[in-house]
């Protein structure tokens, strides 16, 4: 497992060797902050010292933004032929998968944490509940990992980055829409309620919501972690086949 370190380093700093990282970080912050300030977010109008109106858009935003980070993970290696170089180095597939995933996740976590001026603003304007805010950040980072797991998997399936992006987007969208009330009502009309319930339990939105209210429920944490574990397992299988 000591081989993860060099792989992680190469991948993580690889984002900064091209303009990708800067374009991504800036656009992520601009979009997420302007959504909070928009009339849908009501950051100021709501009159409460919290970042709830900031985090509420994250499941939607991640749907587009995480595939942009994840699509290149394997597709690029396959296209450039460097995958042959990588897999003739003395590393196992699992080490390669973990090294890349953790690098992408760390990059996403960095993007999320760079919104700290928002938190400081709220702290300056009022008395926010810092615990709730910390829970929201934790939830956002965990959710980003789950999204990234899906994107890493779809990226391993193709050498075309566009296909990889579209597949990731579609797969992530499913996990978001599962939680919408309109979607679950339709589901309940065709399927038994218990089955529909189970399906809607897979939604990112419902699991993330608890975090934004300051509740760190082990079942939500386990949900995101196990989704990561499962997609990474499939990722190894996809690369070894």
């Amino acid at each position: 497992m000591s081989q993860i370190r060099p792989l992680f380093k190469r991948e993580f700093f690889g984002y900064f060797r091209s303009p990708v990282a800067y374009v991504f970080l800036v656009s992520f912050l601009v979009i997420s902050v302007s959504l909070a300030f928009s009339r849908y977010g009501n950051f100021f109008k709501s009159g409460t010292a919290s970042l709830e109106s900031y985090f509420i858009f994250f499941p939607w935003l991640f749907m587009f933004i995480v595939p942009a980070v994840g699509m290149r993970l394997w597709s690029e290696e396959k296209k450039a032929g460097t995958i042959e170089l990588l897999f003739t180095l003395p590393i196992t597939t699992l080490e390669a998968v973990l090294g890349k995933f953790l690098a992408g996740w760390a990059f996403l976590a960095l993007a999320i944490l760079m919104s700290f001026p928002m938190a400081l603003t709220v702290g300056f304007l009022g008395q926010p509940d810092w615990g709730v805010m910390a829970a929201s950040y934790l939830g956002a980072i965990l959710m980003a990992g789950a999204y990234l797991g899906i994107c890493a998997l779809t990226s391993a399936l193709t050498k075309n980055q566009v296909i990889s992006f579209v597949l990731s987007l579609a797969a992530c969208a499913v996990f978001v829409f599962l939680g919408l009330s309109s979607f679950t009502t339709t589901l309940e009309s065709v399927l038994p309620v218990s089955v529909a319930d189970i399906i809607s339990n897979f939604s990112f939105v419902t699991h993330f919501d608890a975090f934004t209210k300051g509740i760190i429920d082990p079942k939500d944490v386990v949900f995101f972690l196990s989704l990561m574990g499962f997609t990474l397992f499939l990722n190894v299988v996809a690369l070894e086949r």
Partner: protein, 237 residues
């Protein structure tokens, strides 16, 4: 050092490699010849553990590549065809990454290995250039440097002189020759003069099978007075 027995690989209904067997000892430079699509690269990819053979086995230093791929990869230096490398990294960053994965963890160890291969492959002048800005000849040398960084006992080179100018070709050949004394080297090529210049043994494959396995002199003796490319043509036609 390297032993291949009955390797088979089938893609769809096309048998790319059809029961290839050979052996390479330390001190030997094996020239791997054949027309395009004969199965040279596929054989090398199986030997390096990049793809799984459908049947047969390949061992390096007595270790089976399907049983313990990581141990085999540790002993191999491999230059894949067209020398892939991460384009956005500089030559030094790239070699430092490879050195680290190859187990050179301290800065002094890494530095020592990088300086050594930069000198061997004459890359010092472009060390801080990104790989995407390099010409083909330099890229090829980066691939070569990467394969040599851990001083492996076995070297597998897929068309190492491809895309180089005549001077660079000469340089790479003498480099291979100088190292070969204590290494087992396999190099694939379709340049016949290369065989004459450096190889101690030649294997010619056609349609996935070995059609000749002998010294360059024995190959030449097959048809007295004929040129190597004529012999090559009769064997692979």
């Amino acid at each position: 050092m390297i032993e291949v027995t009955g390797l088979v690989k089938t893609y769809g209904n096309k048998r790319a490699v059809d029961g290839i067997s050979f052996k390479v000892n330390r001190g030997e430079i094996l020239g791997f010849l054949g027309p395009n699509g004969a199965g040279k690269s596929t054989t090398m990819k199986m030997l390096t553990g990049f793809i799984r053979p459908d049947a047969g086995s390949a061992t390096v230093g007595g270790i089976d590549v399907t049983k313990d791929p990581v141990a085999v990869k540790r002993q191999l230096g491999y230059l894949p065809e067209s020398a892939p490398a991460y384009p956005e990294m500089t030559v030094e960053e790239f070699l430092s990454f490879i050195a680290e994965v190859r187990g050179f963890r301290t800065t002094t160890q890494k530095r020592e290995r990088i300086e050594h291969v930069l000198g061997l492959t004459h890359l010092s002048s472009v060390r801080s250039q990104t790989i995407e800005t390099l010409s083909k000849g330099y890229k090829q040398r980066v691939g070569f440097a990467q394969a040599l960084i851990h001083n492996p006992p076995a070297l597998i080179l897929d068309e190492p002189t491809d895309g180089l100018d005549p001077n660079q070709k000469n340089e790479v050949r003498s480099l291979i020759k100088n190292m070969a004394a204590e290494k087992a080297v396999i190099l694939s090529t379709h340049i016949l003069e290369e065989v004459d210049a450096i190889c101690t043994r030649v294997i010619i494959i056609a349609r996935g099978q070995v059609v000749a396995d002998e010294t360059p002199n024995a190959l030449r003796a097959r048809q007295a007075g004929a040129r190597l490319d004529e012999i090559f043509r009769t064997l692979t036609a």
